[in-house]
């Protein structure tokens, strides 16, 4: 589509369409509303469903119902909406229902500031559901990322049969920038594996994999339940069956860590410092390290696109060669705790800011130089 002037939210909608999304439901909330608005422009003309629920709880229910009927579903909201989604996120996790959830983050807590960005929900997205099952969270840093990561998000959700989050931010979602989506390298589209054969058991799967899928309403009867269930989809209290299922839900995500890891890096020769960041902050980090390089101080950067499951192997490997690891976040320290689990604390420098403003390259340079 050549060069265009586009906000991240539109790029997400375009990514969803490219991924084959054919169902959207949502409830308006700044700064996520324009994902909905863009889906409205694109989905119904392709015969897709794009509707407004009476609240987030309903909208999320529509998406889950649609996904169970075989659709590729998307919803978009901000922190307050994620709060309302919580119970259904747990349902989608436990009952292995694919869908993509966009969180265009705003500054919290609560209503917070509708028009101020922050990476408020980085821990919330992982832990805002019951039982502590790992989830997949991807963080775009610009409009092009919004496009590409949305396709990855759909692919992951289909492959692993789970909800996948996109942790965007008001600053990316609602800022227009020049972007040429044609330059994007999109992964091949993945669709959930359909069951073939007789004797369908809705949750029978390989140990660290998602079960093959059959839609509600087809020729084979499908059972779905939010209750603890065995491979047959019936309620169970058998400890062995329960344990195996819990383990599988965990393993199918954690053991896929490497295939789920997406990142960008700039490795500068002779650098002894690496800056780790994600989201919109990565752009300021890139600017500041560019400037530092020009003034003779080489500093490398690692921008994480996959936040959950934590790409521990990547972080371990990429930080090995550096004396100092600087972590910059648009909150008061959420992801640093994950990095601390992998990198010795003595090497870590952290700067976090949550005041409604973007972190400036000047501030980042100061932290890198004096931190």
């Amino acid at each position: 589509m050549a060069l265009s002037f586009m906000e991240g939210n539109e790029a997400i909608a375009r990514g969803a369409i490219a991924a084959g999304c054919n169902f959207f439901a949502g409830y308006p909330i700044t700064p996520a509303t324009t994902v909905f608005a863009n889906m409205l422009k694109m989905l119904p003309p392709k015969g897709g469903v794009c509707i407004q629920g009476e609240d987030e709880i309903a909208s999320m229910g529509y998406c889950i119902g649609a996904s169970m009927a075989g659709k590729k579903a998307l919803t978009a909201t901000s922190g307050p909406g994620i709060s309302l989604y919580s119970e259904q996120i747990s349902f989608a996790i436990g009952s292995e229902i694919p869908m993509v959830i966009v969180d265009v983050q705003r500054l919290g807590p609560s209503t917070g500031s509708a028009t101020r960005g922050a990476d408020s929900d980085i821990q919330f997205l992982q832990w805002g559901s019951t039982s502590g099952v790992p989830v997949i969270v991807l963080a775009p840093s610009d409009a092009l990322d919004c496009y590409v990561l949305t396709v990855h998000a759909f692919n992951f959700s289909e492959k692993y049969r789970c909800p996948v989050f996109i942790a965007s931010n008001k600053e990316i979602g609602m800022t227009k920038e020049s972007v040429d989506l044609d330059t994007a390298v999109l992964p091949p589209i993945v669709n959930r594996t359909f069951y073939s054969g007789d004797g369908f058991l809705p949750f029978e799967a390989e140990p660290a994999a998602a079960p093959p899928f059959l839609p509600i309403g087809g020729n084979t009867l499908v059972r779905q339940t939010s209750s603890t269930h065995g491979p047959d989809g019936f309620i169970t209290i058998d400890p062995e069956v329960i344990a195996a299922n819990q383990q599988r839900l965990r393993d199918k995500i954690l053991m896929a860590e490497e295939s789920l890891t997406l990142y960008e890096e700039t490795v500068r020769e002779d650098a002894d410092t690496l800056v780790i960041s994600y989201g919109v902050t990565s752009r300021a980090v890139e600017d500041s390290c560019q400037q530092l390089a020009e003034s003779g101080t080489p500093v490398s950067t690692l921008s994480l696109k996959t936040l959950w499951p934590v790409p521990q192997k990547l972080i371990l490997e990429k930080t090995k060669a550096y004396k100092k690891i600087v972590v910059i976040e648009m909150n008061l320290g959420q992801y640093i705790e994950e990095i601390r689990k992998v990198v010795p604390s003595s090497n870590l420098v952290f700067y976090g800011q949550m005041n409604g403003l973007l972190i400036s390259p000047d501030k980042i340079m100061e932290v890198i130089t004096h931190g």
Binding site: G47, V49, G61, G65
Partner: protein, 274 residues
């Protein structure tokens, strides 16, 4: 009726019987009526998707051999809406408890009615929270005893029929578990109706409501439904207007059904390219 007509074993998952409801619970009678209605309509199992929330009543979805979604408390109508919008040809049936439908799920209930989406909601009204141990529901009404109302309730109750009518449901009916033949007929009509249908079936919870309110066991509670309910417009109402009416209160096929209406939206958006 012949025995054959009442053989509904093909519609149930026999390995889960006997069911989990307490002795004397009315919910099994509702299941019986529902199965017979489906049988009499000669519906194919694959065409039916039963979506339920959480509660004793919601457990129905575990006993029927249809496509079944046993979801979360109060939200069944939302999931059913998503399924229905995706596959409008399916017959969507949602059995609900009174708490599930009108406390936690009240918002979804009125909006589903307002939209007139083709779903049949069967509200199994036992005026109490059965599953969690006898807390009051929005249908208990004032002056009742419940686990959470040891000094008796002060909350007024909804009237399921009035609420459904006001919210715009296009088929609204009421029966009781004392009247299973009538229930079968009403459920059949509700399923056949294209639009949002509500069938309230007064059910009994002798374990909680009955015991706490000293209204006797299942037999006395059924007797109450026999004595205290009448067909719509019955002469008995002149003498006693507090009698509960049974029958069809609304049956309106003029209002566009939501999936049909949405189809027109898509047609417009596609500018006739479909």
């Amino acid at each position: 009726m012949s025995k054959k007509n009442y053989d509904v074993t093909g519609y149930i998952r026999q390995r889960f019987f006997p069911q989990m409801w307490c002795p004397g619970c009315g919910h099994g009678t509702v299941l019986g009526s529902l199965l017979r209605a489906v049988k009499e309509l000669d519906l194919d199992k694959n065409e039916i998707v039963m979506t339920s929330g959480i509660g004793c009543s919601s457990r129905i979805s575990g006993y029927v051999d249809f496509h079944s979604l046993h979801t979360i408390h109060g939200r069944a109508l939302a999931f059913a809406t998503g399924v229905k919008l995706s596959k409008p040809s399916l017959t969507a049936i949602v059995p609900m408890g009174d708490g599930d439908a009108l406390a936690i799920g009240g918002n979804h209930f009125i909006h589903a009615a307002r939209r007139n989406i083709d779903i049949t909601a069967i509200v199994m009204n036992n005026r109490i929270y059965g599953m969690t141990g006898g807390q009051f529901s929005p249908l208990s009404g004032p002056g009742k005893r419940a686990t959470t109302a040891p000094y008796s309730t002060i909350d007024r109750n909804f009237d399921v029929v009035d609420l459904s009518v006001s919210a715009g449901a296009t088929f609204v009916a009421r029966s009781t578990v004392y009247h299973p033949q009538e229930s079968i007929d009403l459920i059949k009509r509700a399923i056949r109706h294209k639009g949002f249908s509500v069938v309230e079936i007064l059910s009994q919870c002798p374990t909680h409501f009955g015991r706490k309110n000293k209204v006797g066991g299942a037999v006395e509670m059924l007797e109450y439904y026999k004595q205290r309910t009448v067909k719509i417009g019955s002469k008995k109402l002149e003498k006693d207007p507090t009698l509960i009416q049974r029958g069809i209160f609304v049956d309106n096929s003029e209002v566009p059904e939501y999936c049909d209406a949405y189809d027109l939206v898509i047609e417009k958006a596609m500018k006739g390219k479909r």
